[in-house]
Subunit: 156 residues, 2 copies
DNA sequence: CACAAACAGGACTAAAACAGTACCGTATCT
DNA sequence: AGATACGGTACTGTTTTAGTCCTGTTTGTG
């Protein structure tokens, strides 16, 4: 059903939580406030940090914060960070794998059209659009608030 | 990685093959000419017929043909026929399941935005766009040829 | 300097989904 | 009657996913 990983699903919940604060948050903290089990949250955050979407600080008072201005993060990036490149089938450019029917396949990689379409639509949905506030707030105000929090977190 | 079932992948190969002929084709025939194993082809066709995308005729000289003008079939329909409603996560309208975090979830079903975006983009890619001919032929010519073949198959 | 808080990386297991196959039944044509 | 072809469904091995745990490293604090 064209499903996304459960991890990715949780990730959005956690990221939205992180979007709300203005400082580094520890994995335990985020687990607590999001309701997602700690080991899982931990796994997600580690992965997101690895890709640069988040940045991390170790030691006492450490935790996670956004690696760059969160208003600019798209859902495509979140999904790709956790699941690797978006590829609806094996026979799509960039997927790494190669379809077993290539030799006789009557439509060399035409799934690409589908893939590109999906990719583009995911680029257009931003992470901040997932916040419930997004429904009521003026988009510009939302962006400004988020940007301010990010700045605060950075200097801390 | 937002993958589509292998069955769905094969289905497109088979459907493209079917798009080429102007008569009913048996499962065995299609398996032969597409290179996909017969039992698999059979499974796919059965399912597609159940949803009405294809129509079937039993008995000698029976087989499968399109249930309606193929030029109007979108990839969204093909995917939904084989995998059920498109739902990237559990917490999306129509998915049937219900997310376990609904109670405390900070963003009730905002995945819907993503889902709708994907759905729309899949609606815009047509099955006939998957044919290699689609790259070289004038789209209108392609549609006409396909429509003629369909008509021929219908009257037969 | 010792200790505690936090992240980093990876290994492991149980459960679920998928892929592929097979079997038996029903309809249709000759 | 018999051959062809679809219809439904059940079964099984394999692969993926989800979730957990453990061990190591970094960093602030008393
Ligand atoms: S089905 Fe993979 S290359 Fe065509
Ligand atoms: S994560 Fe499912 S309702 Fe929010």
């Amino acid at each position: 059903m064209l499903k996304v990983n459960k991890l990715t699903d949780y990730a959005v919940v956690v990221l939205c939580d992180l979007l709300r604060g203005d400082r580094l948050r520890s994995a335990a903290d985020l687990a607590q406030s999001s309701g997602v089990p700690l080991p899982t949250v931990s796994k997600i955050l580690k992965q997101l940090a690895r890709t640069g979407l988040l940045q991390s600080a170790r030691g006492v008072n450490g935790g996670y914060g956004f690696g760059r201005p969160p208003a600019g993060i798209s859902m495509a990036e979140v999904i790709e960070a956790l699941e690797g490149p978006i590829a609806v089938t094996g026979c799509v450019e960039d997927s790494g794998e190669m379809c077993e029917f290539v030799h006789q396949c009557p439509m060399n990689g035409h799934w690409n059209a589908v893939n590109v379409a999906i990719r583009r639509s995911l680029d257009e949905v931003r992470l901040v659009d997932m916040l419930p506030e997004a429904r009521f707030m003026d988009p510009e105000d939302l962006n400004r608030v988020i940007a301010e929090r990010h700045a605060a977190a950075m200097q801390a």
